[in-house]
């Protein structure tokens, strides 16, 4: 585990170097570290942000410097506290076995109707399979949320079948409707809000992925398991209501 500064008000805790070689193990490690740090509530820490291989810890340098008084360095003090929290968590983890069912599974209905899927043909052409096969592959795979970002509530999903990996569009679209499901390189994701974007669009969900009036405001969080369920246009309209 490596702890490096992210400016003067945050540090990045790197749980592993790589992601792609062991996504499941890495994500489990990141989510565990995130939870340990959240539960520890280290004084001066404001918030945490997990992503792929790391957890960022945002802090108030003035508050941390006060905590680390007696001439101590704020960064060193915080890094030491983080190491202690993670080590204690790892100790408890050895005694209490976590299982796969501890990670929640979220099912997301997706309508792959051509109207919602302007790039389905392109993804099929790239994979050299039929559009139906693309839909079948995409909707029978289990994914995991590697992180939430880009815009509020946007899940970057790991686990896309290699066959479906498709390069991003050369020219990003200026506007993509909320709920659009896309493929960008080796990842798949869902646009929670109307926004610009360069991913290939292959479907749309009627669910709201980000709602600022709710807490938590996002449907998904890092570490979640995700499955897509193919739905008809009628089901889409019914669920949308």
């Amino acid at each position: 585990m490596e702890i490096v500064p992210l400016g003067d008000s945050a540090v990045i805790v790197r749980v592993r170097e790589q992601f792609e070689d062991a996504p499941e193990e890495t994500l489990d490690g990141v989510v565990r570290t995130f939870r340990h740090l959240r539960n520890a509530a280290i004084p001066g820490v404001i918030e945490l942000a997990p992503a792929y291989t790391s957890v960022a810890v945002f802090f108030d340098p003035v508050a941390v410097t006060k905590e680390s008084a007696k001439g101590g360095d704020a960064f060193d003090w915080l890094a030491e506290r983080i190491r202690a929290v993670v080590a204690a968590g790892a100790d408890r983890g050895r005694r209490v076995r976590t299982t796969r069912s501890d990670v929640r599974l979220v099912e997301i209905p997706v309508c792959y109707d051509p109207e919602f899927a302007p790039d389905l043909d392109e993804v099929a052409r790239h994979a050299q399979i039929s559009t139906k096969e693309v839909v079948d592959l995409h909707s029978t795979t289990e994914y995991r949320v590697a992180c939430i970002g880009f815009v509020p509530g946007f899940p970057f999903l790991a686990g896309l079948p290699k066959k479906l990996a498709t390069p991003r569009r050369d020219v990003p679209r200026k506007e993509i409707p909320a709920g659009s499901v896309g493929v960008g390189g080796a990842q798949t994701g869902i646009y929670p809000l109307r926004s610009p974007g360069g991913w290939n669009l292959i479907g749309r969900t009627p669910l709201r992925l980000f709602d600022p009036t709710k807490n938590p405001p996002a449907l998904l969080q890092a570490g979640d398991r995700v499955r897509f369920r193919a739905i008809t246009r009628q089901e889409f309209e019914a669920l949308k209501r």
């Binding site: 490096v4 992210l6 400016g7 003067d8 008000s9 790391s54 003035v62 880009f150």
Partner: protein, 323 residues
């Protein structure tokens, strides 16, 4: 207990000190791009430091107040008037019911922050009154202000205006209330990917000026200048970024992230501008030239700590005037 936006100006939005606690869900910090300026402006009108005020970009804003209020502003070099009386940065002023407050175009810098006694009363969304202009929530209906908008203000407290005759004699330190510079030097600490750039690139980064591109906004200031090339083109794993992060996309043109930046990014991070200098960074406009100069992390923390001490002294000094 309201104010009417006679003219919305170029880009005006309700902002406080930002939205924390939801970064894990991709929610940006947002808030005033120079939170320190808003804190000082709020203190000048006897508000809580974190009260919601207005962030005014490039001026053009005109406000009409329905009741008596104290106001103060800090930021770029703007020409601000109450009716026809000039209101300099960093002074509190008492506005009578029915008076107009006008913001002209800035001479230097591009943004300023207006504090109004008792604050702008918009609903708290996810712990903040800030407007998230990208995701369109918070603030006033999740958008920039327009001509004719009517904004509620917090409850009037006579104690906030009673001590002020016209314009206050007291003020805050000049560099707090007017941080904009034409050719600022921004101090930075090394980024995690510093070693991915060769000596020549580092030499350029730390010695040559970079011009601010017109393509800059609340998400980030983009620069034109010597190309910054990484030694290798291997993709990096995306991880957290924050206001102050200087990332270098494959174009070699650095981007300094500001308050509305996304929460994660995959570009190499060459450096981070220190929190103290985000006040100058928030003033950058197209054509300005910027230089970067390195400081240690310990120094960055020390500088911040010293300023907080000065702010504490200022707060105590103010309480002698105001209450």
């Amino acid at each position: 207990m309201k104010m009417i936006v006679t003219r919305g100006g170029f880009l005006t939005s309700v902002q406080d000190l930002g939205r924390t606690g939801f970064r894990e869900f991709g929610v940006s910090l947002g808030g005033a791009l120079d939170p320190f300026a808003l804190r000082v402006a709020n203190l000048l009108v006897d508000n809580d430091e974190g009260a919601a005020g207005l962030e005014i970009t490039f001026g053009g804003l005109q406000l009409h107040f329905a009741d008596e209020r104290a106001v103060a502003w800090c930021g770029g070099e703007f020409d601000v008037q109450i009716e026809s009386m000039p209101l300099p940065a960093g002074h509190a002023a008492r506005l009578q019911a029915g008076e107009e407050l006008k913001f002209g175009r800035p001479q230097i810098g591009c943004r300023c922050w207006l504090a109004i006694s008792s604050g702008v009363d918009v609903p708290v969304v996810l712990g903040s009154r800030s407007t998230d202009l990208r995701a369109n929530f918070g603030g006033f209906h999740g958008r920039a202000l327009r001509d004719g908008d009517e904004l509620a203000l917090g409850e009037f407290r006579r104690s906030q205006t009673a001590a002020i005759e016209g314009i206050s004699s007291w003020t805050a330190p000049y560099d707090w209330v007017s941080p904009a510079k034409r050719g600022p030097t921004l101090r930075f600490v090394r980024g995690v990917d510093w070693s991915q750039f060769d000596d020549l690139t580092i030499e350029r980064f730390t010695s040559e000026p970079f011009a601010v591109s017109p393509d800059s906004d609340r998400m980030g200031a983009r620069f034109e200048g010597p190309e910054l090339k990484r030694k290798s083109n291997v993709d990096l794993v995306s991880e957290a970024v924050a206001p102050g992060t200087i990332q270098v996309p494959p174009s070699g043109k650095p981007i300094l992230l500001l308050g509305d930046c996304q929460t994660i990014g995959g570009y190499p991070k060459i450096a981070y501008v220190i929190t103290l200098d985000l006040s100058m960074a928030a003033q950058l406009r197209a054509g300005d030239h910027v230089r970067f100069s390195e400081v240690s992390l310990a120094d960055a923390h020390q500088l911040l700590l010293e300023r907080e001490r000065e702010l504490e002294r200022f707060r105590i000094g103010l309480s002698l005037h105001v209450s």
